[in-house]
């Protein structure tokens, strides 16, 4: 697999994301084959058999259009797994246990992880405005997989998973959001109340990491005995409330604190354009301010797709692998990140 090409590519669901708040969203289904122990209580041979059975049946599904890659984590180079982890294709578990097999299409919309805590994890990524379509389409595929593979299921509990919190339709939704005005005005309490109301958990930029950068946060909601429709509706309501709050705060910022916000935006723009070193936190914080500047109309010369192109590329492993930087050489990593951001800013500069 061409790692450099993968690093340079932008996942299909991130292309030209035109929303101010939701960058992309995902749905993950957790499934186990009927009559078999969950992965932690399986022998290596049994796990091998399960992987074989799933692989034989999923590669012919219409979702790939014969355009997919299979990665055996056991044999894959560590650097590839780290890149896949930052893009949400591999999980923390993939890297830790090296037990799973990954299948994904070039567009990175559909991902299957086989042999993690649950036999199968099916992930569907989608654009900001495609929640309903994503839910419908993902249910068709997971339903087809159930017909072929027959998943463990029990009336009254739903699909049976290794962790009881996924009971029900055994899934979670997540949405990557950008909420700079909520953070800038310290509206954390109002934001936390929305999260608590819908039992939403806050996560970091990478799939299973907790580290948040700038005003980019990932919101996650788990089925907890709910149906897919129930979870979707909760997520939808939560995102609507967060969107309203963020828009209210953006109005307040524009009307009541224009100088402060303009100062913040142009300082960030200058840092991104001129700095020689950019660590990951600085990069995301300044990109967050710049994005707000573009969305509020202060900065007109940067094409919005710049933000899609830069999002994954500035992550630590993307930088290290692409520029062959040693893992402990944080200065070199920061230097390369600054250079990359400036290169992309130049590339996506336009006259408006």
């Amino acid at each position: 697999m061409d790692i450099l090409k993968l690093i340079e590519s932008v996942p299909d669901y991130m292309n030209e994301s035109a929303d101010n708040i939701i960058i992309f969203q995902s749905i993950k289904y957790y499934r186990n084959l009927e009559g078999l122990n969950f992965t932690s209580k399986l022998s290596a041979d049994d796990l091998k058999e399960i992987k074989k059975k799933i692989l034989n049946n999923v590669t012919s599904l219409p979702l790939w259009e014969n355009n997919y890659k299979i990665i055996e984590s056991e044999q894959a180079p560590q650097e590839l797994l780290l890149i896949l982890y930052e893009r949400g294709i591999a999980g923390q578990e993939t890297i830790q246990t090296r037990n799973s097999t990954l299948i994904f299409g070039d567009d990175e919309r559909f991902i299957l992880r086989i042999g993690e805590r649950d036999h199968l994890k099916f992930i569907v990524n989608s654009e900001f405005n495609q929640l309903d379509e994503m839910v419908q389409e993902s249910q068709i595929y997971i339903g087809i997989l159930d017909k072929i593979l027959r998943f463990a299921y029990k009336e009254g509990l739903g699909y049976l998973t290794s962790s009881p919190r996924y009971l029900g339709h055994a899934l979670n939704f997540s949405a990557m959001c950008h909420i700079p005005a909520i953070f800038a005005l310290g509206q954390i309490q109002a934001f936390s109340q929305i999260l608590q109301k819908y039992l939403i958990v806050l996560a970091g930029i990478m799939d299973s990491s907790l580290q948040t950068y700038g005003a980019f946060v990932q919101l996650k909601i788990t089925s907890f005995l709910d149906t897919v429709e129930e979870v979707k509706n909760k997520m939808k309501s939560a995102l609507d409330e967060i969107r309203d709050l963020e828009n209210q705060m953006r109005n307040i910022i524009s009307l009541e604190r224009p100088i402060e916000i303009e100062d913040r935006i142009y300082k960030s723009y200058a840092i991104l354009q001129n700095s020689k070193l950019l660590n990951i936190a600085e990069a995301f914080e300044n990109l967050s301010n710049l994005r707000l500047g573009v969305e509020l109309g202060y900065i007109k010369e940067i094409h919005p797709s710049f933000f899609d192109k830069v999002f994954f590329r500035i992550l630590p492993n993307h930088i290290r692998v692409f520029y062959a930087v040693q893992e402990d050489d944080l200065t070199k990593e920061a230097e390369m990140r600054a250079l990359l951001v400036q290169e992309l800013l130049e590339k996506y500069y336009y006259a408006g």
Partner: protein, 156 residues
Amino acid sequence: MICQKCNQREAEILYTEYVEGILLTTNLCRICAEEAANGVREMPEEEMEPADKTAKCPKCGLSLNEFRMSLQLGCPNCYDYFSPFFKEVLSRVVHRSSFSGERINPDRFLLYIESEILKLNDKLKELKDREEFKEAIKVRDKIRKLESIKKWISSN
């Protein structure tokens, strides 16, 4: 997601602190969350455990202690074996103890697929008329994909 404190058990609780104007959130497992909250427990231990604390699932051999440490079950049978324990916990956490949905059956999406194909065909025509060929190719591919799904469902 793994607990950020012990790095071993599954994180189940979003532990939130507001310190000097900054929101600090940590995803913790139940045990670390209890420690972080100075030992304030959500429910007394005796209520969480069945009478026989050494009992093991007869199919996979998972013990309740193992489960409490990892918050992971060993097999579908564990759900029957530890049923009283789960029902209590679930009703406290999500205020219900059973799931009212059904198995996801792809057949019920046939109508949706057919209406999507119709909609996309109209969109394709409009895009071709406007000579927006790049977008038209995307829509055409989507139609092909939906048609192959429809064919797959009908033939199975």
